[in-house]
Assembly symmetry: C2
Homo-oligomer: 479 residues x 2
């Protein structure tokens, strides 16, 4: 070797990987063991974290120890701890050990699941897991892979909303893949004022247009009014528009409201509209028979989605989407360049999931569902759901019994929205003071233009004591 | 506790996580240590893997050992080993140890990076990493976060293509977010016949329409013809159409061709079109000065994308997208429901990456870039690129010197496309026989309607001996 020979590339061989891997597992275990003791919300100011990172990558490689030390020094102060048992904000990111470890197996295998042929296990396990989930949630046989439907893992419920709106668009106006500007009749979609923002975002992306998404009024429980939906469709039809898609929600973001699927379904059938059901957050509850009422009627919908990466112990990303007619989805998303042609695809005997999603590449995410469903078993998942609901219902009783707070929306599951009786300023002040203590993370919403505290119980580390402590804090701030 | 009390939920506490985590790290280390000895391509038949998985989730939880044993029994036979040093097919999935372990840290932290406020470190480290990458690849100052531009991690180059086509669509026809059907003048996009399939897929999704994507001819090196582009734009303008977007490629999928960015740029400037540059696979080469010619001109483009999850040692998913005008992207993708409002967002001092992508939720992926760039250092990455190019160039010499094969496209980097002189059937037979041995994985393409073997060197475990063995196999099959 001469002096001018470059240094060898510092690849991490399997034995170094083993050693450092054990260190990182220990780091994660220590983090999870101590997460409860950390202030839930990061208090760094904008620029604090970036200020600790040099402007360019280093020229020479650094030691793994140095990098891990910087995870503690640079990253951790800027982390808001979604895994804390005191996390009650937004939605849960309820990551379990089996899921984290399944994802490690997935990273280690490093396969691409774009085609069946590029790793058959990645595709076939996914199909099976979506069937498992369909049975677990009782969403009905039309969504099973054994019929004309089937399921797929997407990154998020936003992507599922877009993919279904796309399939519905192209079904309603078959020329649309050639160009939407040439289509006669303004394609018009419907959702409630309480629906997730991704529906409006999706309408903008797909060219439908945010102006052509009708925002339907809700009733006093924040659920979509079927009468208002019917009336909107009828007047749009009378105006020569082309109604094509309704997105209903099983558990709205703000308050967890349940749209009346059976009534909406009847309207969608009458006018031949695609009914998509977004159960991203609360769909998981349907694993328990006693909560399955939330989605009654979903088995006749055109599509259904739920996020195991929210409440069901799977780490991000893992959204499940089912369609009753997989051909509608595939015909909107399929494209087969020469370099992806292969014998298995040509036979038509296999699923190529690249045709079920927007991206081409895809990770082996079914492993996470497999590990979680097997480690916990159906009864373990149900039991966790029941415990979370029970803790929340106890909190609802405390709020109802307290003179300074009132619950402002139905709270049948794990989300409760409540306000201080003195009004918005007081409610907001209490929320901000509570979060500032670092002992809880809560978020907010507006319901009927009223500022409300949103408290959602959905972290598996959360025990009754944590809910009690959060409530004690809120009442102490209100007095 | 009474008899009717349900069993406790079998959560994996930190100490169990530590124990099983060590087991899984050992499993992955063993897998990576033995991946070379495995048949590269899985030989299972459709249904084989699914047949080993019961139709429903188990009622009761199972032991972690049982699950891991089934990874070996059920999953591994259905895996095609993208991490094998004998992987030369499609594109590399070049996952390094530091990247896999960074992803484990990300899974353990389990944060959501949708807003700056939901974990500031997730956002700020990402912004810094995209600046690091911009410097490393020399794509110019307009893409740095310190000016009007900036970068973001997307899942794939497909999503980057769609996001940029969307921003370009809305910039060219500002009313489009309200509804594309109301827009005058058919929006028309351009790419070459060698571009990635995601451009056509994206045009269909966005409502532009696959028919309104002009497929521009290529020259003898499979690079887009600027003259043909100009002529297509001019005739579309004459016909009252609205040209708005050109997607150029730095390293096409089939043959690795480089579109002439400077010439295309001049045309895009003249007609006010958005120029997107897709460097998904070969953009990584630009970390070396001597290969930076491939993307000359990209610093004046409107957007640029590269996939560290292909060649740059980062595991899937990690696509980098830069835009010169971040407001164009944000205005197409932004939506701010009440529950996401927060003080940091209101000040305008922070980036909320949910407005830079289609989904709302996002994982902490910047950690992977940070670990890889620091572990290897810029010079380690460059050295790996140079070694892969050198191995490939040696192979090109062998092919050129062999009477039975001929190289059919320029091969300046790590992809070589070649055919047997006896024609397509012979070439295809050799490819299939080679893959059937299980000692290599190769893929194919069609160039000028000729069937070619695609061999790409891009796995970090690949050494000169592996390339030599692949070549010896091919020559033995051709004699």
């Amino acid at each position: 070797m001469t002096d001018s020979q470059p240094a060898p590339v510092p690849h991490m061989d399997p034995e170094s990987f083993r050693r450092h891997g054990h260190e990182v597992v220990d780091w994660v275990a220590d983090y999870l063991a101590t997460v409860e003791s950390r202030p839930v919300t990061s208090t760094v100011a904008p620029g604090d974290v970036a200020g600790l990172v040099p402007p360019c990558a280093p020229e020479k490689g650094e030691s793994f120890d140095t990098i891990m030390a910087d995870v503690d020094r640079v990253v951790l102060p800027g982390i808001t701890h979604w895994q804390s048992p005191n996390w009650f904000a937004y939605f849960p990111s309820n990551a379990s050990g089996p899921s984290i470890l399944a994802d490690l197996v997935s990273s280690g295998l490093g396969v691409q699941g774009m085609l069946w042929a590029t790793s058959p296990a990645c595709t076939e396990l996914e199909t099976r897991m979506l069937d498992w989930m369909a049975h677990l949630l009782g969403i009905g046989d039309r969504f099973l892979s054994t019929g004309a439907g089937g399921g797929v893992i997407q990154d998020t419920a936003s992507s599922s909303a877009i993919c279904t709106m796309l399939a519905a668009r192209d079904r309603a106006a078959p020329g649309t893949q050639a160009g939407l500007q040439g289509v006669e009749g303004i394609l018009t979609a419907y959702t409630s004022s309480q629906a997730h923002s991704s529906i409006e975002k999706g309408a903008g992306i797909l060219g439908i247009g945010r102006d052509n998404l009708r925002i339907i009024d809700v009733d006093e429980h924040f659920a979509m009014c079927p009468r208002a939906l019917r009336s909107a469709i009828e007047s749009d039809l009378a105006a020569g528009r082309k109604p094509f898609y309704v997105s209903a929600t099983v558990g709205t973001t703000a308050s967890g409201a349940m749209d009346p699927l059976e009534d909406l379904l009847a309207i969608c059938r009458e006018f031949d509209l695609w009914l998509h059901v977004d159960g991203a957050m609360f769909g998981t509850a349907a694993c328990c028979e006693e909560f399955r009422w939330i989605q009654r009627g979903c088995e006749q919908a055109d599509s259904y989605t739920v996020n195991p990466h929210k409440w069901m112990l799977v780490n991000f990303d893992c959204n499940c989407l089912w369609v009753a007619d997989r051909q509608a989805l595939i015909s909107s998303l399929s494209i087969l360049p020469e370099y992806l042609r292969n014998q298995a695809t040509a036979t038509g005997d296999v699923i190529d999931y690249r045709d079920w999603q927007i991206p081409l590449g895809r990770r082996f995410r079914a492993l996470k569902l497999w590990f979680v469903l097997r480690h916990y078993g159906a009864e373990g998942i149900r039991q966790m759901v029941r415990e979370h609901v029970a803790m929340t219902q106890e909190l609802v009783e405390w709020i109802n019994a307290h003179e300074a707070f009132e619950v402002v929306a139905p709270s049948p599951l794990t989300l409760v929205c409540f306000s201080h009786v003195d009004g918005d300023d007081r409610t907001q002040a209490i929320l901000e003071q509570a979060n500032a203590t670092g002992t809880v993370a809560l978020s907010h919403a507006r319901l009927n233009d009223r500022y409300v505290i949103r408290l959602n119980v959905g972290q598996w580390r959360t025990r009754p004591d944590h809910v009690r402590a959060a409530w004690d804090l809120l009442t102490s701030l209100s007095s």
